[in-house]
Protein backbone atom coordinates (compact mmCIF):
# COMPACT_ATOMS: atom_id res chain seq x y z
CA UNK A 1 0.00 0.00 0.00
CA UNK A 2 2.78 2.36 1.06
CA UNK A 3 4.63 1.51 -2.15
CA UNK A 4 1.57 2.36 -4.23
CA UNK A 5 1.34 5.76 -2.49
CA UNK A 6 4.99 6.33 -3.08
CA UNK A 7 4.67 5.47 -6.78
CA UNK A 8 1.62 7.74 -7.09
CA UNK A 9 3.46 10.59 -5.35
CA UNK A 10 6.52 10.18 -7.55
CA UNK A 11 4.28 10.04 -10.64
CA UNK A 12 2.43 13.19 -9.53
CA UNK A 13 5.70 15.03 -8.91
CA UNK A 14 7.05 13.86 -12.28
CA UNK A 15 3.83 14.95 -14.01
CA UNK A 16 3.99 18.34 -12.30
CA UNK A 17 7.62 18.77 -13.30
CA UNK A 18 6.83 17.73 -16.87
CA UNK A 19 3.87 20.12 -17.02
CA UNK A 20 6.04 22.95 -15.70
CA UNK A 21 8.76 22.16 -18.22
CA UNK A 22 6.22 22.02 -21.04
CA UNK A 23 4.63 25.28 -19.90
CA UNK A 24 8.01 27.01 -19.74
CA UNK A 25 9.02 25.64 -23.09
CA UNK A 26 5.75 26.86 -24.62
CA UNK A 27 6.14 30.30 -23.04
CA UNK A 28 9.69 30.49 -24.30
CA UNK A 29 8.54 29.37 -27.75
CA UNK A 30 5.80 32.01 -27.74
CA UNK A 31 8.26 34.70 -26.71
CA UNK A 32 10.68 33.62 -29.44
CA UNK A 33 7.85 33.67 -32.00
CA UNK A 34 6.76 37.11 -30.83
CA UNK A 35 10.33 38.38 -31.11
CA UNK A 36 10.65 36.81 -34.54
CA UNK A 37 7.34 38.35 -35.59
CA UNK A 38 8.43 41.78 -34.37
CA UNK A 39 11.77 41.44 -36.15
CA UNK A 40 10.09 40.28 -39.37
CA UNK A 41 7.62 43.15 -39.22
CA UNK A 42 10.47 45.57 -38.58
CA UNK A 43 12.37 44.13 -41.55
CA UNK A 44 9.29 44.49 -43.75
CA UNK A 45 8.86 48.08 -42.60
CA UNK A 46 12.52 48.83 -43.24
CA UNK A 47 12.46 47.30 -46.71
CA UNK A 48 9.54 49.55 -47.67
CA UNK A 49 11.24 52.56 -46.09
CA UNK A 50 14.43 51.82 -48.03
CA UNK A 51 12.45 51.58 -51.26
CA UNK A 52 12.27 55.38 -51.14
CA UNK A 53 16.03 55.50 -51.54
CA UNK A 54 16.77 52.47 -53.72
CA UNK A 55 14.80 50.31 -56.17
CA UNK A 56 12.56 47.81 -54.34
CA UNK A 57 14.02 44.86 -56.26
CA UNK A 58 17.48 45.89 -55.09
CA UNK A 59 16.33 46.23 -51.50
CA UNK A 60 14.85 42.73 -51.64
CA UNK A 61 18.01 41.29 -53.18
CA UNK A 62 20.02 42.80 -50.33
CA UNK A 63 17.65 41.26 -47.76
CA UNK A 64 17.67 37.87 -49.50
CA UNK A 65 21.32 37.47 -50.39
CA UNK A 66 23.43 40.27 -49.02
CA UNK A 67 24.80 43.27 -50.84
CA UNK A 68 24.78 42.89 -54.62
CA UNK A 69 27.86 44.27 -56.35
CA UNK A 70 26.28 44.57 -59.76
CA UNK A 71 25.77 48.11 -61.06
CA UNK A 72 23.42 49.18 -63.81
CA UNK A 73 23.94 51.82 -66.49
CA UNK A 74 21.10 54.33 -66.38
CA UNK A 75 20.13 57.59 -68.01
CA UNK A 76 19.76 60.07 -65.14
CA UNK A 77 19.50 63.76 -64.44
CA UNK A 78 21.72 64.85 -61.58
CA UNK A 79 21.03 67.88 -59.41
CA UNK A 80 23.85 69.19 -57.28
CA UNK A 81 23.07 71.94 -54.79
CA UNK A 82 25.37 73.84 -52.46
CA UNK A 83 25.14 76.87 -50.20
CA UNK A 84 27.27 79.94 -50.95
CA UNK A 85 29.45 81.17 -48.12
CA UNK A 86 28.54 78.36 -45.75
CA UNK A 87 32.04 77.87 -44.32
CA UNK A 88 32.36 81.45 -42.92
CA UNK A 89 28.80 81.16 -41.65
CA UNK A 90 29.62 77.91 -39.82
CA UNK A 91 32.48 79.68 -38.06
CA UNK A 92 30.46 82.70 -36.99
CA UNK A 93 27.24 81.12 -35.72
CA UNK A 94 26.62 79.09 -32.58
CA UNK A 95 26.80 75.35 -33.47
CA UNK A 96 23.29 74.57 -32.22
CA UNK A 97 21.86 77.47 -34.23
CA UNK A 98 23.81 76.35 -37.27
CA UNK A 99 22.43 72.81 -37.02
CA UNK A 100 18.90 74.20 -36.69
CA UNK A 101 19.38 76.42 -39.77
CA UNK A 102 20.80 73.51 -41.77
CA UNK A 103 18.09 71.08 -40.77
CA UNK A 104 15.37 73.56 -41.73
CA UNK A 105 17.11 74.04 -45.06
CA UNK A 106 17.42 70.30 -45.75
CA UNK A 107 13.83 69.67 -44.78
CA UNK A 108 12.55 72.22 -47.29
CA UNK A 109 14.91 71.19 -50.09
CA UNK A 110 14.12 67.52 -49.57
CA UNK A 111 10.39 68.22 -49.87
CA UNK A 112 10.97 70.18 -53.10
CA UNK A 113 12.99 67.31 -54.56
CA UNK A 114 10.71 64.41 -53.62
CA UNK A 115 7.60 66.31 -54.70
CA UNK A 116 9.08 66.31 -58.21
CA UNK A 117 9.93 62.59 -58.36
CA UNK A 118 13.58 62.96 -57.37
CA UNK A 119 15.44 61.38 -54.50
CA UNK A 120 18.31 62.62 -52.39
CA UNK A 121 21.29 60.33 -52.82
CA UNK A 122 23.78 62.07 -50.55
CA UNK A 123 24.18 65.06 -48.26
CA UNK A 124 27.76 66.30 -48.32
CA UNK A 125 28.11 68.92 -45.62
CA UNK A 126 25.69 71.56 -46.82
CA UNK A 127 25.63 70.05 -50.34
CA UNK A 128 22.86 67.91 -51.80
CA UNK A 129 23.22 65.30 -54.52
CA UNK A 130 19.76 64.46 -55.91
CA UNK A 131 18.94 62.03 -58.70
CA UNK A 132 16.07 61.84 -61.15
CA UNK A 133 15.42 58.62 -63.05
CA UNK A 134 17.79 56.53 -60.94
CA UNK A 135 15.34 54.47 -58.90
CA UNK A 136 12.70 54.08 -61.63
CA UNK A 137 13.04 54.88 -65.32
CA UNK A 138 11.54 58.34 -65.76
CA UNK A 139 10.98 59.78 -69.25
CA UNK A 140 10.20 63.19 -67.69
CA UNK A 141 13.30 63.31 -65.49
CA UNK A 142 14.78 66.52 -66.90
CA UNK A 143 11.60 68.59 -66.63
CA UNK A 144 11.20 67.16 -63.11
CA UNK A 145 14.73 68.07 -62.10
CA UNK A 146 14.47 71.66 -63.34
CA UNK A 147 11.04 72.10 -61.72
CA UNK A 148 12.58 70.76 -58.56
CA UNK A 149 15.38 73.34 -58.75
CA UNK A 150 12.79 76.09 -59.24
CA UNK A 151 10.83 74.79 -56.26
CA UNK A 152 14.05 74.84 -54.21
CA UNK A 153 14.57 78.48 -55.21
CA UNK A 154 11.03 79.30 -54.08
CA UNK A 155 11.40 77.37 -50.82
CA UNK A 156 14.64 79.15 -50.03
CA UNK A 157 13.04 82.57 -50.51
CA UNK A 158 10.36 81.60 -47.99
CA UNK A 159 12.93 80.11 -45.60
CA UNK A 160 15.12 83.19 -45.79
CA UNK A 161 12.12 85.31 -44.79
CA UNK A 162 11.73 83.11 -41.69
CA UNK A 163 15.45 83.33 -40.90
CA UNK A 164 15.51 87.09 -41.33
CA UNK A 165 12.46 87.47 -39.08
CA UNK A 166 14.35 85.51 -36.42
CA UNK A 167 17.43 87.74 -36.92
CA UNK A 168 19.40 84.80 -38.29
CA UNK A 169 21.71 84.86 -41.31
CA UNK A 170 20.02 84.08 -44.64
CA UNK A 171 21.24 81.49 -47.14
CA UNK A 172 22.21 81.62 -50.80
CA UNK A 173 21.92 78.57 -53.04
CA UNK A 174 23.66 77.37 -56.20
CA UNK A 175 22.23 74.47 -58.21
CA UNK A 176 23.88 72.65 -61.12
CA UNK A 177 22.09 70.13 -63.33
CA UNK A 178 23.39 67.71 -65.90
CA UNK A 179 21.88 64.77 -67.76
CA UNK A 180 23.71 61.70 -68.97
CA UNK A 181 24.51 58.10 -68.42
CA UNK A 182 25.90 56.86 -65.10
CA UNK A 183 26.36 53.64 -63.17
CA UNK A 184 23.64 53.18 -60.56
CA UNK A 185 24.12 50.78 -57.69
CA UNK A 186 24.84 50.26 -54.02
CA UNK A 187 28.17 51.87 -53.27
CA UNK A 188 30.16 52.03 -50.06
CA UNK A 189 31.60 49.79 -47.39
CA UNK A 190 29.75 47.13 -45.39
CA UNK A 191 29.35 49.74 -42.62
CA UNK A 192 27.90 52.45 -44.85
CA UNK A 193 26.14 51.74 -48.12
CA UNK A 194 24.13 54.05 -50.29
CA UNK A 195 22.29 53.76 -53.56
CA UNK A 196 23.81 56.31 -55.87
CA UNK A 197 25.03 57.04 -59.37
CA UNK A 198 28.70 57.38 -60.21
CA UNK A 199 30.34 58.68 -63.35
CA UNK A 200 31.07 61.84 -65.29
CA UNK A 201 27.43 62.87 -65.14
CA UNK A 202 27.76 63.51 -61.39
CA UNK A 203 31.12 65.27 -61.69
CA UNK A 204 29.80 67.61 -64.38
CA UNK A 205 26.73 68.51 -62.30
CA UNK A 206 29.01 69.33 -59.35
CA UNK A 207 31.34 71.46 -61.52
CA UNK A 208 28.41 73.29 -63.10
CA UNK A 209 27.08 74.02 -59.64
CA UNK A 210 30.43 75.63 -58.80
CA UNK A 211 30.03 77.82 -61.92
CA UNK A 212 26.90 79.44 -60.46
CA UNK A 213 29.17 81.68 -58.35
CA UNK A 214 31.20 82.73 -61.35
CA UNK A 215 28.09 83.57 -63.39
CA UNK A 216 26.28 84.99 -60.34
CA UNK A 217 23.13 82.94 -60.93
CA UNK A 218 21.39 80.33 -58.78
CA UNK A 219 20.40 77.59 -61.26
CA UNK A 220 22.61 76.45 -64.12
CA UNK A 221 21.98 73.66 -66.61
CA UNK A 222 24.15 72.03 -69.24
CA UNK A 223 23.27 71.73 -72.95
CA UNK A 224 22.28 68.08 -72.32
CA UNK A 225 19.61 69.28 -69.92
CA UNK A 226 18.57 72.17 -72.15
CA UNK A 227 18.02 69.82 -75.12
CA UNK A 228 15.71 67.54 -73.12
CA UNK A 229 13.90 70.38 -71.36
CA UNK A 230 10.46 71.72 -72.25
CA UNK A 231 11.29 74.66 -74.56
CA UNK A 232 8.85 76.87 -72.69
CA UNK A 233 11.18 77.23 -69.70
CA UNK A 234 12.83 80.66 -69.81
CA UNK A 235 16.62 80.29 -70.08
CA UNK A 236 19.57 82.62 -70.58
CA UNK A 237 22.59 81.31 -72.50
CA UNK A 238 25.94 81.89 -70.80
CA UNK A 239 29.43 81.77 -72.31
CA UNK A 240 31.32 78.44 -72.30
CA UNK A 241 33.73 77.81 -69.44
CA UNK A 242 36.46 75.25 -68.89
CA UNK A 243 35.47 72.59 -66.38
CA UNK A 244 38.03 70.54 -64.46
CA UNK A 245 38.32 67.07 -66.00
CA UNK A 246 36.24 67.94 -69.09
CA UNK A 247 38.12 68.32 -72.39
CA UNK A 248 35.94 70.94 -74.10
CA UNK A 249 34.64 74.19 -72.56
CA UNK A 250 31.02 73.75 -71.46
CA UNK A 251 28.29 76.24 -72.31
CA UNK A 252 25.61 76.63 -69.67
CA UNK A 253 22.13 78.13 -69.37
CA UNK A 254 20.72 80.00 -66.41
CA UNK A 255 17.16 78.99 -65.59
CA UNK A 256 15.06 82.10 -65.17
CA UNK A 257 11.54 80.79 -64.68
CA UNK A 258 9.01 78.39 -66.02
CA UNK A 259 6.28 79.59 -68.35
CA UNK A 260 2.98 80.39 -66.66
CA UNK A 261 1.21 77.45 -68.32
CA UNK A 262 3.72 75.02 -66.85
CA UNK A 263 2.10 75.35 -63.49
CA UNK A 264 2.59 73.43 -60.24
CA UNK A 265 0.20 70.58 -61.12
CA UNK A 266 3.32 69.04 -62.64
CA UNK A 267 4.14 67.00 -59.58
Amino acid sequence: MRLAWLIAAVAAIAAALLATALYRSRRSDQRARARLGTTSAELERLSHAFARFAPMELVERVIASGVPTRGERKEVTVLFADLFGFTPLSESVDPSVLVRILNGYFERMSAAITAHHGHISTLIGDGILALFGAIEANPWQTDDAVRSALAMREELVAYNRELAAASLPTLRLGVGLHRGSGIAGLVGSPELMQFTVVGTVVNVAARVQALTREHDVDILITPAVQRALDPRFALRALPPRELKGIAEPVATFAVLEQAAELDPVHR
Binding site: A41, E44, P55, E136, P139, D143, R232, V265
Partner: protein, 361 residues
Amino acid sequence: MMLRDVEWEACALQPRHDRELEAFVREKLGAVPSAVPYFAASPWIVRALTNLGYNGAPLVGVDYALADLLGLVVSQDNSCRYCYGVQRTVMRIHGVPEARIREIEQNYLEAEIEPRTRLALDFARRISRASPLVSASDAADLRATGWETPAIRELAYLSAYNVFMNRLMTTAAIPITGVERVAGHWAVGWLAPLARLMMRRRWRHSPGTRLSPEQRSGPWSYLVCALDGLPAAGVLRTVIDQMWDSPHLTRRAKALVFAVIARGLDSSLAEREATGLIEANGLERGEIEPVLTHLSSPALDPVEAAIVPFARGTIRGRPTQLQERTRALLARLPGEQVVETVGVCALANALCRLSVVTQLE
Protein backbone atom coordinates in the same frame (compact mmCIF):
# COMPACT_ATOMS: atom_id res chain seq x y z
CA MET B 1 4.67 46.99 -44.90
CA MET B 2 2.28 46.55 -42.02
CA LEU B 3 -1.25 47.78 -42.47
CA ARG B 4 -1.08 50.31 -39.65
CA ASP B 5 2.13 51.89 -40.98
CA VAL B 6 0.67 53.07 -44.28
CA GLU B 7 -0.16 56.77 -44.15
CA TRP B 8 -3.58 57.55 -45.59
CA GLU B 9 -5.21 60.95 -46.19
CA ALA B 10 -8.87 61.82 -45.62
CA CYS B 11 -11.07 61.26 -48.68
CA ALA B 12 -11.86 64.46 -50.53
CA LEU B 13 -14.55 62.94 -52.78
CA GLN B 14 -18.20 63.37 -51.90
CA PRO B 15 -20.12 60.08 -51.48
CA ARG B 16 -23.42 59.83 -53.36
CA HIS B 17 -25.97 57.06 -52.95
CA ASP B 18 -27.43 55.64 -56.14
CA ARG B 19 -30.06 53.02 -55.24
CA GLU B 20 -30.11 51.33 -58.60
CA LEU B 21 -26.36 51.02 -58.72
CA GLU B 22 -26.17 49.79 -55.15
CA ALA B 23 -28.87 47.19 -55.86
CA PHE B 24 -26.76 45.92 -58.76
CA VAL B 25 -23.69 45.67 -56.53
CA ARG B 26 -25.65 43.97 -53.73
CA GLU B 27 -26.99 41.38 -56.12
CA LYS B 28 -23.52 40.60 -57.44
CA LEU B 29 -21.46 40.75 -54.25
CA GLY B 30 -24.05 40.16 -51.54
CA ALA B 31 -23.21 43.52 -49.92
CA VAL B 32 -22.34 47.06 -50.96
CA PRO B 33 -18.68 47.88 -50.26
CA SER B 34 -18.14 51.20 -48.50
CA ALA B 35 -16.22 52.50 -51.55
CA VAL B 36 -19.23 52.35 -53.89
CA PRO B 37 -20.87 55.72 -53.06
CA TYR B 38 -17.61 57.56 -53.75
CA PHE B 39 -17.58 56.35 -57.36
CA ALA B 40 -21.32 56.60 -58.06
CA ALA B 41 -20.77 59.66 -60.30
CA SER B 42 -19.15 57.31 -62.84
CA PRO B 43 -21.26 54.13 -62.80
CA TRP B 44 -18.77 52.30 -65.03
CA ILE B 45 -16.26 52.39 -62.17
CA VAL B 46 -18.73 50.76 -59.79
CA ARG B 47 -19.58 48.13 -62.41
CA ALA B 48 -15.88 47.54 -63.02
CA LEU B 49 -14.99 47.05 -59.36
CA THR B 50 -17.95 44.70 -59.06
CA ASN B 51 -17.39 42.62 -62.19
CA LEU B 52 -13.64 42.49 -62.73
CA GLY B 53 -13.18 40.36 -59.59
CA TYR B 54 -14.09 36.70 -59.06
CA ASN B 55 -17.82 37.36 -58.89
CA GLY B 56 -18.02 38.72 -62.39
CA ALA B 57 -15.05 36.90 -63.88
CA PRO B 58 -14.72 33.43 -62.35
CA LEU B 59 -11.30 31.86 -62.54
CA VAL B 60 -10.41 29.05 -64.93
CA GLY B 61 -6.96 27.72 -64.03
CA VAL B 62 -5.75 29.60 -60.97
CA ASP B 63 -6.78 28.39 -57.55
CA TYR B 64 -8.97 30.82 -55.59
CA ALA B 65 -6.73 30.53 -52.53
CA LEU B 66 -3.74 31.59 -54.63
CA ALA B 67 -5.76 34.44 -56.13
CA ASP B 68 -6.53 35.65 -52.60
CA LEU B 69 -2.91 35.44 -51.60
CA LEU B 70 -1.93 37.29 -54.77
CA GLY B 71 -4.42 40.03 -53.88
CA LEU B 72 -2.93 40.38 -50.40
CA VAL B 73 0.66 40.43 -51.61
CA VAL B 74 0.07 42.89 -54.47
CA SER B 75 -2.08 45.18 -52.30
CA GLN B 76 0.60 45.15 -49.62
CA ASP B 77 3.26 45.93 -52.21
CA ASN B 78 1.16 48.83 -53.47
CA SER B 79 0.46 49.99 -49.89
CA CYS B 80 -3.28 50.04 -50.59
CA ARG B 81 -4.70 49.99 -47.11
CA TYR B 82 -8.30 49.62 -48.29
CA CYS B 83 -7.70 46.59 -50.55
CA TYR B 84 -5.35 45.10 -48.01
CA GLY B 85 -8.06 45.24 -45.33
CA VAL B 86 -10.64 43.77 -47.69
CA GLN B 87 -8.29 41.00 -48.79
CA ARG B 88 -7.46 40.13 -45.20
CA THR B 89 -11.15 39.75 -44.40
CA VAL B 90 -11.76 37.64 -47.50
CA MET B 91 -8.87 35.34 -46.59
CA ARG B 92 -10.10 34.90 -43.05
CA ILE B 93 -13.54 34.04 -44.40
CA HIS B 94 -11.87 31.52 -46.66
CA GLY B 95 -10.41 29.89 -43.58
CA VAL B 96 -6.84 31.19 -43.73
CA PRO B 97 -5.63 31.41 -40.10
CA GLU B 98 -4.81 34.85 -38.75
CA ALA B 99 -1.28 33.65 -37.92
CA ARG B 100 -0.68 32.64 -41.54
CA ILE B 101 -1.83 36.02 -42.86
CA ARG B 102 0.38 37.75 -40.31
CA GLU B 103 3.36 35.61 -41.29
CA ILE B 104 3.02 36.71 -44.93
CA GLU B 105 2.45 40.36 -44.20
CA GLN B 106 5.27 40.55 -41.67
CA ASN B 107 7.88 39.04 -43.93
CA TYR B 108 6.82 37.94 -47.39
CA LEU B 109 10.38 37.10 -48.43
CA GLU B 110 10.91 34.67 -45.53
CA ALA B 111 7.36 33.30 -45.21
CA GLU B 112 6.88 29.60 -45.86
CA ILE B 113 5.33 29.55 -49.32
CA GLU B 114 5.43 26.60 -51.67
CA PRO B 115 8.01 27.38 -54.45
CA ARG B 116 5.50 27.11 -57.32
CA THR B 117 3.15 29.51 -55.52
CA ARG B 118 5.97 31.89 -54.69
CA LEU B 119 6.97 32.08 -58.35
CA ALA B 120 3.39 32.98 -59.24
CA LEU B 121 3.29 35.66 -56.54
CA ASP B 122 6.65 37.09 -57.58
CA PHE B 123 5.44 37.24 -61.19
CA ALA B 124 2.32 39.11 -60.06
CA ARG B 125 4.42 41.55 -58.02
CA ARG B 126 6.71 42.21 -60.98
CA ILE B 127 3.71 42.99 -63.17
CA SER B 128 2.38 45.37 -60.56
CA ARG B 129 5.74 47.08 -60.01
CA ALA B 130 6.47 47.30 -63.74
CA SER B 131 10.04 48.29 -63.03
CA PRO B 132 10.74 47.36 -65.76
CA LEU B 133 7.59 46.26 -67.53
CA VAL B 134 7.26 42.46 -67.45
CA SER B 135 7.96 40.60 -70.68
CA ALA B 136 7.44 37.00 -71.78
CA SER B 137 10.90 35.99 -70.54
CA ASP B 138 9.77 36.79 -66.99
CA ALA B 139 7.34 33.87 -67.28
CA ALA B 140 10.13 31.35 -68.02
CA ASP B 141 10.52 30.31 -64.36
CA LEU B 142 6.78 29.78 -64.11
CA ARG B 143 6.76 27.52 -67.15
CA ALA B 144 9.66 25.54 -65.72
CA THR B 145 7.53 24.67 -62.70
CA GLY B 146 4.59 23.55 -64.79
CA TRP B 147 2.51 26.70 -65.16
CA GLU B 148 0.64 26.58 -68.49
CA THR B 149 0.13 29.64 -70.69
CA PRO B 150 -3.61 30.12 -69.93
CA ALA B 151 -2.92 30.06 -66.19
CA ILE B 152 0.00 32.49 -66.59
CA ARG B 153 -2.35 34.82 -68.49
CA GLU B 154 -4.81 34.52 -65.66
CA LEU B 155 -2.11 35.35 -63.12
CA ALA B 156 -1.21 38.44 -65.15
CA TYR B 157 -4.87 39.42 -65.32
CA LEU B 158 -5.27 38.99 -61.55
CA SER B 159 -2.25 41.16 -60.92
CA ALA B 160 -3.61 43.86 -63.23
CA TYR B 161 -7.03 43.61 -61.59
CA ASN B 162 -5.43 44.22 -58.21
CA VAL B 163 -3.47 47.16 -59.63
CA PHE B 164 -6.79 48.61 -60.82
CA MET B 165 -8.40 48.19 -57.40
CA ASN B 166 -5.32 49.44 -55.53
CA ARG B 167 -4.96 52.57 -57.67
CA LEU B 168 -8.68 53.27 -57.50
CA MET B 169 -8.97 53.07 -53.72
CA THR B 170 -5.62 54.70 -53.00
CA THR B 171 -5.93 57.63 -55.39
CA ALA B 172 -9.44 58.35 -54.13
CA ALA B 173 -8.32 57.86 -50.48
CA ILE B 174 -11.40 55.77 -49.75
CA PRO B 175 -11.99 55.72 -45.96
CA ILE B 176 -10.53 52.63 -44.33
CA THR B 177 -11.86 52.69 -40.80
CA GLY B 178 -14.79 50.34 -41.48
CA VAL B 179 -12.75 47.95 -43.58
CA GLU B 180 -10.02 47.68 -40.97
CA ARG B 181 -12.50 47.25 -38.13
CA VAL B 182 -14.00 44.26 -39.94
CA ALA B 183 -10.61 42.85 -40.97
CA GLY B 184 -9.39 42.80 -37.38
CA HIS B 185 -12.64 41.70 -35.72
CA TRP B 186 -12.59 38.42 -33.81
CA ALA B 187 -16.09 37.56 -35.05
CA VAL B 188 -14.81 37.24 -38.63
CA GLY B 189 -13.05 34.02 -37.64
CA TRP B 190 -16.14 32.62 -35.94
CA LEU B 191 -18.52 33.56 -38.73
CA ALA B 192 -16.16 32.39 -41.45
CA PRO B 193 -17.68 28.90 -41.93
CA LEU B 194 -21.13 30.41 -42.47
CA ALA B 195 -19.79 33.08 -44.84
CA ARG B 196 -17.82 30.42 -46.66
CA LEU B 197 -20.96 28.38 -47.24
CA MET B 198 -22.75 31.44 -48.63
CA MET B 199 -19.90 32.37 -50.93
CA ARG B 200 -18.84 28.96 -52.15
CA ARG B 201 -21.47 28.85 -54.87
CA ARG B 202 -20.23 32.19 -56.20
CA TRP B 203 -16.62 31.07 -56.46
CA ARG B 204 -16.64 28.03 -58.67
CA HIS B 205 -14.14 27.54 -61.44
CA SER B 206 -15.31 28.33 -64.95
CA PRO B 207 -14.68 26.00 -67.89
CA GLY B 208 -13.67 29.13 -69.85
CA THR B 209 -15.57 31.20 -72.38
CA ARG B 210 -14.79 32.49 -75.87
CA LEU B 211 -15.24 36.08 -77.02
CA SER B 212 -18.00 36.80 -79.52
CA PRO B 213 -16.95 38.47 -82.83
CA GLU B 214 -18.33 41.83 -81.60
CA GLN B 215 -16.21 41.60 -78.45
CA ARG B 216 -13.07 41.22 -80.53
CA SER B 217 -13.07 44.84 -81.69
CA GLY B 218 -12.97 48.21 -79.95
CA PRO B 219 -10.36 50.14 -77.97
CA TRP B 220 -7.62 47.96 -76.43
CA SER B 221 -8.97 44.91 -78.30
CA TYR B 222 -5.40 43.56 -78.57
CA LEU B 223 -5.44 43.01 -74.81
CA VAL B 224 -8.98 41.71 -74.65
CA CYS B 225 -8.27 39.20 -77.44
CA ALA B 226 -5.08 38.06 -75.72
CA LEU B 227 -7.21 37.05 -72.72
CA ASP B 228 -9.71 35.13 -74.87
CA GLY B 229 -10.74 31.93 -73.13
CA LEU B 230 -10.98 33.60 -69.71
CA PRO B 231 -14.36 34.98 -68.56
CA ALA B 232 -12.33 38.08 -67.64
CA ALA B 233 -11.86 38.90 -71.34
CA GLY B 234 -15.54 39.61 -71.97
CA VAL B 235 -15.88 41.48 -68.68
CA LEU B 236 -12.87 43.62 -69.53
CA ARG B 237 -14.37 44.38 -72.97
CA THR B 238 -17.54 45.67 -71.29
CA VAL B 239 -15.60 47.71 -68.72
CA ILE B 240 -13.47 49.36 -71.41
CA ASP B 241 -16.52 50.14 -73.56
CA GLN B 242 -18.42 51.63 -70.62
CA MET B 243 -15.40 53.71 -69.63
CA TRP B 244 -14.99 54.88 -73.23
CA ASP B 245 -18.66 55.95 -73.42
CA SER B 246 -18.80 57.63 -70.02
CA PRO B 247 -19.63 61.34 -70.46
CA HIS B 248 -17.54 63.17 -67.85
CA LEU B 249 -14.32 63.21 -69.87
CA THR B 250 -13.89 63.31 -73.62
CA ARG B 251 -12.55 60.25 -75.40
CA ARG B 252 -9.47 62.25 -76.32
CA ALA B 253 -8.81 63.08 -72.67
CA LYS B 254 -9.15 59.41 -71.72
CA ALA B 255 -6.82 58.31 -74.50
CA LEU B 256 -4.32 60.94 -73.34
CA VAL B 257 -4.37 59.44 -69.85
CA PHE B 258 -3.62 56.01 -71.33
CA ALA B 259 -0.84 57.38 -73.53
CA VAL B 260 0.88 59.17 -70.63
CA ILE B 261 0.76 56.09 -68.42
CA ALA B 262 1.96 53.91 -71.30
CA ARG B 263 4.90 56.28 -71.83
CA GLY B 264 5.74 56.26 -68.12
CA LEU B 265 5.74 52.46 -68.05
CA ASP B 266 7.55 52.16 -71.38
CA SER B 267 4.70 50.11 -72.85
CA SER B 268 5.09 50.77 -76.58
CA LEU B 269 2.10 48.60 -77.45
CA ALA B 270 -0.23 50.52 -75.15
CA GLU B 271 1.22 53.85 -76.29
CA ARG B 272 0.64 52.98 -79.95
CA GLU B 273 -2.98 52.07 -79.23
CA ALA B 274 -3.55 55.22 -77.19
CA THR B 275 -1.92 57.62 -79.66
CA GLY B 276 -4.04 56.09 -82.45
CA LEU B 277 -7.13 56.84 -80.39
CA ILE B 278 -5.94 60.39 -79.63
CA GLU B 279 -5.45 61.02 -83.34
CA ALA B 280 -8.87 59.58 -84.12
CA ASN B 281 -10.32 62.01 -81.59
CA GLY B 282 -8.88 65.22 -82.92
CA LEU B 283 -5.24 65.80 -81.94
CA GLU B 284 -2.75 65.64 -84.78
CA ARG B 285 0.20 63.27 -84.61
CA GLY B 286 2.69 66.15 -84.48
CA GLU B 287 0.87 67.60 -81.47
CA ILE B 288 0.87 64.36 -79.50
CA GLU B 289 4.61 63.88 -79.05
CA PRO B 290 5.21 67.21 -77.22
CA VAL B 291 2.39 66.31 -74.84
CA LEU B 292 3.94 62.94 -74.06
CA THR B 293 7.45 64.39 -73.81
CA HIS B 294 6.64 67.31 -71.53
CA LEU B 295 3.17 66.51 -70.17
CA SER B 296 1.83 69.83 -71.32
CA SER B 297 1.07 71.63 -74.56
CA PRO B 298 -0.93 74.63 -75.77
CA ALA B 299 -2.88 72.11 -77.87
CA LEU B 300 -4.55 70.70 -74.73
CA ASP B 301 -7.85 72.02 -73.42
CA PRO B 302 -7.99 73.09 -69.73
CA VAL B 303 -9.34 69.72 -68.52
CA GLU B 304 -6.67 67.81 -70.43
CA ALA B 305 -4.00 70.21 -69.17
CA ALA B 306 -5.02 69.28 -65.63
CA ILE B 307 -5.41 65.52 -66.02
CA VAL B 308 -2.32 64.78 -68.14
CA PRO B 309 0.20 65.55 -65.34
CA PHE B 310 -2.17 64.01 -62.83
CA ALA B 311 -2.17 60.73 -64.79
CA ARG B 312 1.60 60.65 -64.68
CA GLY B 313 1.48 60.99 -60.89
CA THR B 314 -0.61 57.82 -60.56
CA ILE B 315 2.04 55.54 -62.10
CA ARG B 316 4.03 55.23 -58.90
CA GLY B 317 4.21 56.86 -55.51
CA ARG B 318 3.21 56.61 -51.91
CA PRO B 319 -0.52 56.74 -51.06
CA THR B 320 -0.30 60.19 -49.49
CA GLN B 321 1.43 61.59 -52.59
CA LEU B 322 -1.31 60.22 -54.85
CA GLN B 323 -4.00 61.46 -52.49
CA GLU B 324 -2.56 64.97 -52.26
CA ARG B 325 -2.57 65.14 -56.07
CA THR B 326 -6.23 64.12 -56.15
CA ARG B 327 -7.02 66.88 -53.68
CA ALA B 328 -5.15 69.38 -55.88
CA LEU B 329 -7.09 68.16 -58.94
CA LEU B 330 -10.36 68.69 -57.09
CA ALA B 331 -9.43 72.34 -56.74
CA ARG B 332 -9.31 72.58 -60.55
CA LEU B 333 -12.04 70.26 -61.83
CA PRO B 334 -15.61 69.36 -60.82
CA GLY B 335 -16.04 66.29 -58.61
CA GLU B 336 -17.51 64.01 -61.29
CA GLN B 337 -14.59 64.73 -63.62
CA VAL B 338 -12.14 63.94 -60.85
CA VAL B 339 -13.92 60.66 -60.08
CA GLU B 340 -13.83 59.72 -63.74
CA THR B 341 -10.16 60.68 -64.01
CA VAL B 342 -9.31 58.53 -61.00
CA GLY B 343 -11.12 55.59 -62.62
CA VAL B 344 -9.51 56.05 -66.03
CA CYS B 345 -6.06 56.35 -64.45
CA ALA B 346 -6.64 53.17 -62.43
CA LEU B 347 -7.74 51.26 -65.52
CA ALA B 348 -4.88 52.62 -67.61
CA ASN B 349 -2.36 51.62 -64.93
CA ALA B 350 -3.79 48.10 -64.97
CA LEU B 351 -4.03 47.68 -68.74
CA CYS B 352 -0.63 49.17 -69.57
CA ARG B 353 0.98 46.71 -67.12
CA LEU B 354 -0.87 43.83 -68.78
CA SER B 355 0.97 44.02 -72.13
CA VAL B 356 2.81 40.79 -71.28
CA VAL B 357 -0.31 38.74 -72.08
CA THR B 358 0.12 39.59 -75.74
CA GLN B 359 3.57 37.98 -75.74
CA LEU B 360 2.62 34.65 -74.17
CA GLU B 361 2.21 31.82 -76.63
